[in-house]
């Protein structure tokens, strides 16, 4: 009987232990700590000198320099609301307000629990215990001097603003930056999305006057009208929403939450549904126009960009920016997603071989054919053929009614048509116009000739020759027209006599008469007439003319300042050796060094003469140009993370944070410092600025002689043969610790992009636990860790 009771008791204890795990600690605030922990009091006081600046650190975020520093970190929120700024200037920002007790006030700056961890359990035990009795330090972490280093590090942003007095120009906040536009069915009004002004500008077409500027969400991207023009819909990238505006009164009707980072949108012919691509979630949201709610979400390609209705109105097609997930070192393959209207389900997913960056798309009236812009990267070979046009090529794709896809280039030999942003087709279907954001140019395409070029070619030519032929564009490109800086969105007037061009970095809308294809006027949007240093830098970022043959701009590989999802074999060190994953540019200013090997201590070094040697193959930027470019790079914004709720981490993410910060393995043994995540990925940026070897070097990361090819473990650990490398030559390479902020948005991972998901970093590519001690993690712990990482 005793044994049975003991057994029952042990079961209960086990169950109680599990219940304890479910209760997570919270922050109490320094005032609670100081009830006991005062100097010369009975409880142990902090061994650090009292630091008044800690208490004042939150207030510093309200001062004028903070906003300029925040701009240099890619922060979009006010500093007092940004988790990045608050991460160092207060305590508790990493957890979020849902883990703050009422006694905790983050406005009191850096507090005790910032170093010692949440104290709720410790306080609860103290209050429940006997007065004078020392409570157990439940959950309390011993403070280390090394904790200070996470925040007290040189930050270029702070240095530039505080020491060198850099400031954003007032005009930097006043630019409109038109990116897309739509015209009313009667042709009288033009609706222009102002990306930087967070507004929708309504222009009178005839006079060019600004009729109304309507505030919308943050970083709007696209605009679409209902067929009768009664409703106007605007997608807002950073608000993850669609703003709905009355087409007559121009008043906001509502705001519909959709998925992450919405871009293009289109309204169904009946007006009943609005389709919005959620670029950050690889999905398409279907919004019911009557109830203004999302009715369903559909799987799309990777990073879908825009949509177009087919001419018959029975389906629509979405483009995608990035290629589908595929085995490493294979040619990219992207997807067009066709949605059947009515049923509102995916109907087909035509593949586009060898192409990425499919952005603009438009239907050809009368032919049931769709044209879309594309880029054909040659990322699998070293970029030594810039002069021959063999790094990036740009063109148009054709989607036929039967699902067949063709590709043709808009480039000419020695003169690329870089960064095709959008395509518009005239109402009579005769002409298509494509905008080149990298060359400030429009191309006028004869649609019939383009289609004839394809239809008169053999299958072999269509599959293998035409997509790579630089000399065929002359057959169907009638003319090219130089326009203002960085042309993006295009739309024809309903009568086809005018084409409107959003000149994003000109802050204007160009009007091109058709069919003459001449620039007749420019509509001023009311922005600054001054080109600031930042604006100049942004123009350089989008300018491909700095590259030989205009072959690529920074934006070619970094659309929206982010990634194209490719790993590139850049250096001429052997075919297929040492590929490098493309890294995001969002919020990187404070994260030197740069380059995966960490050999560039600054952005100036990264983008300076070395950049010209490997990429542009022309004269490098002048010092002024370099300064402007670097300034712009520093301010590329990081979108709000949709995985992080406004009130902080979810319980699952909180558990993942505990795994991330753990100092002991599951069996209780202490983890060596080099095996802890926080050693390299500490601080508010979750990177240490150090260059580390974490055992992720793979056999193709450097040339090597394989002495014994009969290595039994080669294929055991995924296709990378990581064990082969480790076992044979024991070469190790160190890599710059990447920042983990918004890491959810930048697959693939590791220096060479060999890892497709976050899970794989530890399930496949951490064989010898060089990248953290993780083999003892349970499935649940790994899932929680990934959930936390996605919330950073």
């Amino acid at each position: 009987m005793r044994n049975v009771l003991a057994l029952l008791a042990s079961c209960f204890l086990v169950a109680a232990g599990r219940a304890q795990d479910e209760v997570l600690t919270s922050l109490c605030g320094s005032r609670v700590c100081l009830e006991c922990h005062v100097a010369k009091g009975r409880a142990q006081a902090c061994t650090l000198e009292p630091i008044p600046e800690h208490a004042a650190s939150w207030r510093a975020l309200r001062k004028e320099p903070a906003a300029h520093i925040a701009a240099l970190t890619g922060t979009t929120e006010p500093p007092t609301e940004s988790s990045l700024c608050l991460g160092c200037h207060t305590s508790g920002a990493d957890l979020g307000s849902r883990w703050w007790q009422t006694s905790f006030d983050n406005r009191e700056g850096v507090q005790c629990e910032g170093c010692h961890g949440p104290g709720s359990d410790h306080v609860r035990a103290r209050r429940a215990g006997t007065p004078g009795e020392v409570p157990p330090p439940l959950g309390i972490r011993k403070g280390e001097r090394s904790f200070c280093d996470d925040c007290h590090r040189p930050r270029p942003s702070h240095d530039l603003v505080l020491a060198k007095s850099w400031r954003l120009a007032p005009e930097d906040r006043e630019y409109k930056t038109p990116v897309n536009l739509a015209v009313a069915p009667d042709g009288r009004r033009l609706f222009v999305v102002g990306e930087h002004s967070n507004s929708l500008l309504v222009l009178d077409v005839a006079s060019g006057a600004l009729v109304r500027e309507i505030p919308v969400g943050q970083r709007p991207h696209d605009v679409a009208l209902s067929p009768d023009g009664s409703r106007v819909y605007v997608s807002n990238r950073f608000s993850h929403s669609v703003t709905v505006i009355d087409g007559a009164s121009f008043e906001r009707v509502g705001e519909v939450p959709v998925g992450d980072d919405p871009h293009g949108l289109v309204v169904s012919p009946s007006g009943a549904d609005v389709f919005v691509v959620d670029t950050g979630e690889d999905a398409i949201s279907v919004v019911d126009a009557r109830s203004l709610t999302e009715s369903r979400r559909l799987v799309a390609g990777r990073a879908p960009w825009s949509l177009a209705l087919r001419a018959d109105g029975r389906s629509l097609v979405a483009t995608s920016l990035r290629p589908l997930s595929a085995p490493f070192r294979t040619e990219p393959r992207s997807e067009l997603t066709e949605i059947a209207l009515g049923a509102n389900v995916a109907r087909a997913r035509p593949a586009v071989e060898g192409a990425t960056m499919m952005m603009g798309i438009a239907a050809v009236p009368g032919r049931d054919v769709l044209l879309f812009t594309l880029t054909r990267p040659k990322n699998l070979v070293p970029i030594t053929r810039l002069a021959q046009g063999w790094v990036e090529t740009f063109g148009l794709g054709v989607l036929w009614p039967d699902g067949r896809v063709d590709q043709l280039l808009l480039d000419e030999p020695g003169r690329a048509f870089p960064d095709p942003e959008d395509v518009a087709v005239s109402p009579d279907g005769r002409f298509a116009v494509v905008s080149s954001g990298g060359a400030d140019e429009l191309a006028l395409v004869d649609v019939e000739r383009l289609l004839h070029t394809l239809e008169s070619s053999s299958d072999e030519q269509r599959a293998r020759v035409l997509p790579n032929h630089l000399g065929r564009s002359a057959e169907f490109v009638l003319r090219r027209l130089h326009v203002g800086a960085n042309p993006r969105g295009l739309v024809f007037a309903p009568n086809g006599r005018e084409l409107y061009v959003a000149e994003a970095l000109e802050d204007a809308v160009a009007v091109v008469s058709m069919p003459e294809f001449t620039l007749t006027r420019r509509l001023d949007l009311g922005g600054p007439r001054v080109t600031t240093e930042l604006r100049e830098g942004e123009r350089l970022f989008h300018d491909a003319t700095v590259t030989q043959g205009r072959q690529l701009s920074c934006r070619t590989c970094h659309p929206d300042g982010h990634i194209d999802g490719l790993a590139f074999d850049i250096e001429a060190d052997g075919l297929g050796l040492h590929p490098v994953d493309n890294r995001s540019l969002r919020g990187i200013f404070d994260t030197p060094p740069f380059k995966w090997e960490g050999t560039n201590p600054s952005l100036e070094r990264q983008c300076g003469p070395r950049f010209a040697v490997f990429f542009t193959r022309l004269d490098p930027f002048t010092p002024d140009e370099l300064a402007a470019l670097v300034r712009y790079l520093s301010t590329i914004e990081r979108p709000p993370n949709p995985h992080r709720a406004a009130d902080g981490l979810t319980p699952r993410q909180r558990r993942g944070k505990a795994v991330f910060e753990r100092a002991r393995a599951n069996d209780g043994d202490e983890l060596p410092l080099e095996k802890r995540c926080t050693t390299c990925h500490g601080s508010a940026y979750h990177e240490s600025g150090a260059v580390q070897d974490v055992g992720t070097t793979m056999w193709f990361d450097a040339a090597m002689e394989v002495e014994d090819p009969d290595l039994e473990d080669e294929s055991d650990f995924g296709p990378m043969g990581i064990a082969l490398y480790q076992d044979v030559l024991d070469l190790a390479r160190r890599f710059d610790t990447p920042m983990l902020r918004n890491v959810y948005a930048s697959p693939p991972y590791l220096h060479n992009g060999a890892v497709r998901t976050l899970e794989e970093i530890w399930t496949r590519f951490n064989l010898y636990q060089g990248h953290g001690m993780t083999h003892d993690l349970t499935r649940g712990q790994l899932n929680d860790l990934v959930a936390y990482l996605k919330a950073l």
Partner: protein
């Protein structure tokens, strides 16, 4: 009204009453339409792409069919197929569901993880590159915005929009994994049934409050939710949930021919129960009226029939044919009175509506073929090894409620043994972890001789994986803690004896997680630095699954693998052999089991035309074996000296399998004797494997020419 008229009226009334009584009686005797429906078998001839059907799903007028090699859809009489050329893995499809909002099709596979097919595009989610709990997905269900997967590693829910994975049941599991076989949505939550944990209810789908619902059924075969109730199929019983978590059961009236295999309840409350050789229908739970459909067999010529069993009385229903000849039942899908049954040799269909003949579509609806799969290595030679169910449980001292009381072990003695181990270790190398011997929970394993017994420990509910040798001492050479993946027994201190060097390794790992198994195995081999043939010991419930896994591992190592199938019932032997024969092929059968089962095995093989040699232990070859074999058994190889003549009249069929009630020593000694005999045979086999390599013909010749083995033939009813 005159008397005659009244009489006539009365007579009429009586007749009418009689007629009504007769009519009511006739109604009661009339089988429902789901019984009288005509049965059809769809095979390849009818356009079914693969006859080995493993999963079924109705959706929106289409029937989705999962098979061993492909996915198929029957829609308006037309078949469409997706297979490896479309990018699907080479794994059987265990479960299918369709998202009603997006029409995306979700597939659970046998070792290939979870797949989504959306407008022809296939996306894979496995336990390496996603948060999926296990790559064996028994059941997939789309419930609201999440996709739920019951896997060999637990139950998980995937919110594909936000990319989050929730694990359920993990925190309650006694081991790091919980095998979950089935899930069904209910209005107030989700029901899930595990292998050893019974029935669970997830009460809050969003926050995952879990509660164990007591269910007196240890090994359920199926779960359904219909008519507002949960239904669970047991080994020979159908359970229905009642108020306040009570259950009512209806027993299958007669012993099931064949093991229980599948179970489903239609939306109208028809309860279907499938075993490998028969199909049962409980037409109404309250009335308890059963119908049994027997399969016809080609070999025995038995005609199929339908029996009604009501109130204990079993009566043949005249005029109704039973099931046409088909393979073993694997899965069921019922809608109203329409039933589809997947078998190993076709798709059975019963419907009151006559369906048109199905045909293959001219062009499958699928995207362009995916990239060519990497070249596969040649399959290694491996064998099927059959054994009895040797589960030996350890009861807690003083515990009166142990499931099995065959053996008792003094935990303090075992603990002392381990401490002695630890004390004898040198200081070099990594210090081993001394594990406290705690006996919690059921079914830890005991293996080996009493002197060198290794007991699977549970320290904080974590089991241990180990590698041991077969002979001579059944010694454990290396053991790794499952969670820590650190040595628990240091191989440096257990040097192999010379006679062991040819002995194969036995790898025993209770974890069902293939990733963990693989890592542990590699660690063990790294520690032992020796490459030998590998004997993989695994048991129920999914034998062929493990063969699938280890075939892959063996291919990569170039190691012959001896796949042992521990079968709880002798009657599972044919099914196991058949699946092996169809899916993997095998070269030699090594009989561990007793003479009864061995004889059945040989008879089955002969009937199926399987000519692989049978390598038997001495205990097998006996008169009992002869009787069961029913005639010339073909080629049986037994180690010399083959004492079969000694056992001819006595039979040693139970030697080693009778556990003496008087204590462990006798039982273990007896077991060890039998095992050693089997090991001897195994050793010969593996030595032959080592010599012949992957050449199968060479292997067979090598075996038959070995001086240590005697080729036994049965002639004239006697062994020669």
């Amino acid at each position: 009204m005159n008397a005659a008229f009244r009489s006539a009226l009365g007579l009429t009334l009586i007749m009418a009453g009689s007629a009504r009584a007769s009519s009511a009686q006739a109604d009661a005797d009339t089988p429902p339409s789901c019984v009288t429906s005509a049965w059809h078998v769809l095979t390849r001839a009818d356009g079914l792409p693969d006859q080995d059907v493993t999963a079924l799903r109705f959706f929106d007028g289409s029937l989705w069919v999962g098979t061993r090699s492909c996915l198929a859809r029957l829609e308006q009489g037309c078949w469409t197929r997706w297979g490896a050329e479309s990018g699907l893995p080479d794994s059987a499809i265990l479960s299918i569901d369709v998202d009603p909002a997006t029409r995306d099709v979700w597939l659970g596979t046998l070792g290939g993880g979870l797949w989504r097919m959306s407008a022809g595009r296939l996306d894979r989610f496995d336990q390496f590159q996603s948060g999926l709990a296990g790559d064996v997905v028994f059941t997939v269900r789309v419930i609201g915005p999440r996709v739920w997967a019951a896997t060999n590693g637990g139950l998980c829910a995937f919110d594909w929009v936000h990319g989050t994975w929730d694990l359920h049941l993990e925190r309650r599991a006694h081991s790091p994994e919980t095998v979950v076989r089935a899930i069904e949505p209910a209005p107030d939550g989700v029901f899930a049934v595990g292998w050893e944990e019974g029935l669970w209810r997830i009460e809050d789908r969003d926050h995952g409050g879990e509660r164990l619902v007591p269910l007196p059924e240890l090994e359920p075969v199926g779960l359904s939710f219909a008519l507002g109730r949960a239904w669970v199929g047991g080994a020979a019983r159908a359970w229905r949930s009642e108020a306040k978590e009570a259950w009512r059961a209806r027993d299958v009236p007669a012993p099931l021919p064949g093991a229980a295999a599948c179970f489903t309840v239609s939306d109208t409350g028809r309860i279907w129960f499938g075993s490998s050789r028969s199909l049962w229908l409980l037409t109404d739970f309250e009335s308890g009226e059963w119908y049994r459909f027997d399969f016809g067999t080609q070999e025995s010529g038995e005609a199929s029939a339908v029996h009604r069993v009501r109130e204990g009385a079993d009566a043949l229903v005249p005029g109704l044919p039973g099931l046409p000849s088909a393979g073993e039942l694997r899965c069921l899908a019922a809608v109203g009175d329409e039933l589809w049954a997947g078998t190993s040799r076709g798709l059975l269909h019963a419907s009151s509506a006559v369906r048109g003949a199905a045909h293959a579509c001219s062009a499958p609806v699928s995207p362009a073929p995916m990239a060519k799969p990497t070249e596969t290595l040649p399959s290694p030679t491996y064998v099927a090894v059959l054994g009895p169910f040797l589960r030996r449980t350890v009861a807690l001292p003083g515990d009166a409620g142990g499931v099995n009381r065959h053996m008792r072990v003094d935990p303090s003695a075992a603990d002392a043994a381990f401490r002695a181990h630890a004390a004898s270790r040198s200081s070099g190398g990594r210090p081993p972890v001394v594990v406290q011997s705690e006996f919690l929970g059921l079914s830890p394993y005991a293996w080996g001789t009493p002197e060198d017994e290794v007991i699977t420990q549970r320290r904080k509910h974590e089991p241990v994986a180990w590698i041991g040798t077969i002979e001579p001492g059944d010694r454990v050479a290396c053991a790794l803690s499952l969670l820590e993946e650190r040595p628990w027994i240091d191989p440096a201190l257990t040097e192999p004896a010379p006679e062991e060097l040819a002995s194969p390794w036995i790898f025993r790992c209770p974890s069902q997680d293939p990733l963990r198994q693989r890592r542990l195995l590699e660690r063990c081999f790294a520690e032992l630095a020796c490459k030998r043939p590998l004997l993989l010991r695994d048991g129920d419930p999914y034998d062929d699954l493990h063969v699938e896994w280890w075939k892959s591992a063996a291919e990569q190592r170039g190691t012959p693998v001896v796949a042992e199938l521990q079968l709880s019932e002798v009657l599972k032997v044919p099914g196991a052999l058949e699946s092996l024969s169809q899916a993997h092929g095998f070269d030699v059968v090594l009989c561990w089991t007793d003479a009864t089962a061995s004889g059945e095995l040989v008879r089955y093989m002969r009937a199926r035309g399987l000519e692989q040699p049978v390598l038997a232990s001495d205990a097998v070859v006996s008169s009992v074996f002869l009787e069961r074999a029913g005639g010339a058994p073909g080629r049986v190889l037994a180690p010399r000296p083959c004492p079969h003549r000694e056992h001819e009249n006595g039979g040693a069929s139970a030697a080693g399998h009778r556990y003496a009630a008087d204590g462990m020593q006798t039982a273990m000694a007896q077991a060890s004797t039998t095992y050693r005999a089997v090991y001897a045979a195994t050793g010969h086999l593996l030595d032959a494997l080592n010599r012949s390599g992957p050449n199968r013909m060479e292997l067979r010749r090598n075996l038959e020419e070995r001086r240590e083995l005697e080729l036994v033939r049965l002639e004239g009813g006697r062994w020669r």
